[in-house]
Amino acid sequence: MKEQVLIQAEKKKESSGDVLVVKHLYKSFGSNKVLNDFNLTLVNGENLVVLGKSGSGKSVLIKCIIGLLMPDSGVIELFGRNITDLDHEELDKVRAKVGFLFQSNALYDSMTVRQNLEFPLRRHWMHVTQQEVDNLVQEALEDVGLAHTINMMPAELSGGMRKRIALARTLILKPEIILYDEPTTGLDPVTGKEIIELIMTIQKKYRSSSLIISHDMTCVRLAADRIVVLINGRCYAEGAYDELKRSVDPGIKQFFE
């Protein structure tokens, strides 16, 4: 009883508060300072887009957040826990609640679609029955509209389909935060738009928060509740799409032209 109350309290706190906080983040490769005192907050339920040019450190940021890269200094709090302090096991527990859609999809070439989707399930949730796994796989594939591809190999699929399968794999753990690394890159504008729409639909269904990294303005316009502009490793500007579009600052203007 008490436990349940606690869990509910935690949920409440999360639902109301910030699920991801990045403070004073520094990361450099050699002499190249990629992130230089970067700050960011992701509020529960919102779609935040980080806008930046290629090579501006967007991907580095998102990889730091998921713990694939270690920042030089700074704090990254996921659900109130600083991930730089966590050991491997605890980090995995946090990661189970965070989805990550890779720029190159990162589908396992040697596995079928089904095995691709089962992989994170079996890894994060050790004690699931085959029946549950099958149901979850089916559900995730239906969410992205590709239930018929279940026994195909990734190589047999088109780029857009692969992106959707990757999305399904991200969704299968029902994450509270989904990190998108340039979700429309490498796709034609029509497919890109479809993917954005799919992302929006799914977000509504699962009520998750999203952090989208992109330089594709169509994507930004459609998906963003709020935009953070990343220039020179800093949070250069912040605001809604319309606000930023009206800006006269040349650094911001360059994206909207």
């Binding site: 990661r95 190159s104 999809n105 396992y108 070439d109 992989f119 994170p120 890894r123 994060h124």
Partner: protein, 246 residues
């Protein structure tokens, strides 16, 4: 030089991770199947041809010295001591070293390794440890089977001209073999397997970005592991010499 150090660090990491749970048993078995069983036809074919050709090539010089009857003994020793393990290891390096290098390289490039990490899996354990272990344990098995097939090829080679019963053939072969011939060869094949596995994984795991990087890792995995096989062979010969195992 730098690379030697890096590979050593990589190998040390392998030993650290290999003995820590959790163990990727099912992936290990799958890798054993892919690395070991699936290499058998190739190893068998090359082994067979080696045995046959070696026998046919040796025969004229042995006839010259009038010791043609020693043919099975000489071929047997040559195959078991040196040609079996080294040829098998080189073929293995060509097949498995390149495929591991290319596979891990492309997984690295397409972020699959990162994806594993994010999916609560230690990619080093899942990808590297399983492959290196499988290569280390499967190569000796392949060497043994390769030896057997080579000897069979040699038996056929002996019988192309002249007739020797199978019984006489294997009596001659085994009479002239000693533990000092078999065991060092068997033990060194573990090192060959380990070298192929660890170098293939290292090259793939630290592959440069892009498809070119993948090709490069596959290529240099084969080249480096082939050289390392010869170096290990040299060292093992010195050691067996020192220990007087001949």
């Amino acid at each position: 030089m730098q690379e030697t150090g890096d590979v050593s660090v990589f190998a040390i990491r392998f030993f650290k991770e290999a003995f820590k749970p959790r163990y990727e048993i099912s992936e290990f078995i799958r890798q054993c199947f892919v690395i070991g069983y699936k290499s058998l036809p190739l190893i068998g074919l090359t082994g067979f041809i080696m045995g046959l050709v070696l026998t046919m090539q040796l025969r004229p010089s042995l006839i010259e010295y009038g010791v043609e009857s020693q043919l099975p003994a000489m071929v047997g020793i040559a195959i078991v001591r040196e040609i079996g393990p080294v040829i098998t290891a080189l073929i293995f390096a060509g097949k498995i070293g390149s495929s591991i290098g290319a596979e891990l390289g492309s997984m690295k490039v397409t972020e699959q390794i990162d994806a594993m990490e994010v999916s609560g899996t230690n990619p080093f354990k899942y990808l590297v440890v399983t492959r290196v272990l499988a290569a280390t344990l499967m190569l000796p098995v392949l060497v043994m089977l390769g030896d057997a097939i080579s000897l069979f090829g040699s038996y056929l080679g002996v019988n192309i001209r002249g007739v020797t019963s199978f019984h006489l053939f294997y009596t001659q072969v085994f009479d002239n073999l000693a533990f000092g011939d078999v065991l060092p060869a068997f033990i060194k094949s573990f090192f060959f397997g380990f070298a192929v596995g660890i170098i293939g994984c290292y090259k793939g795991y630290y592959s440069a970005k892009g498809t070119e990087g993948v090709g490069q890792s596959a290529n240099s995995a084969v080249v480096v592991s082939s050289i390392v096989i010869f170096v290990i062979d040299l060292v093992v010969v010195q050691i067996t010499d020192l220990l007087n195992l001949n």
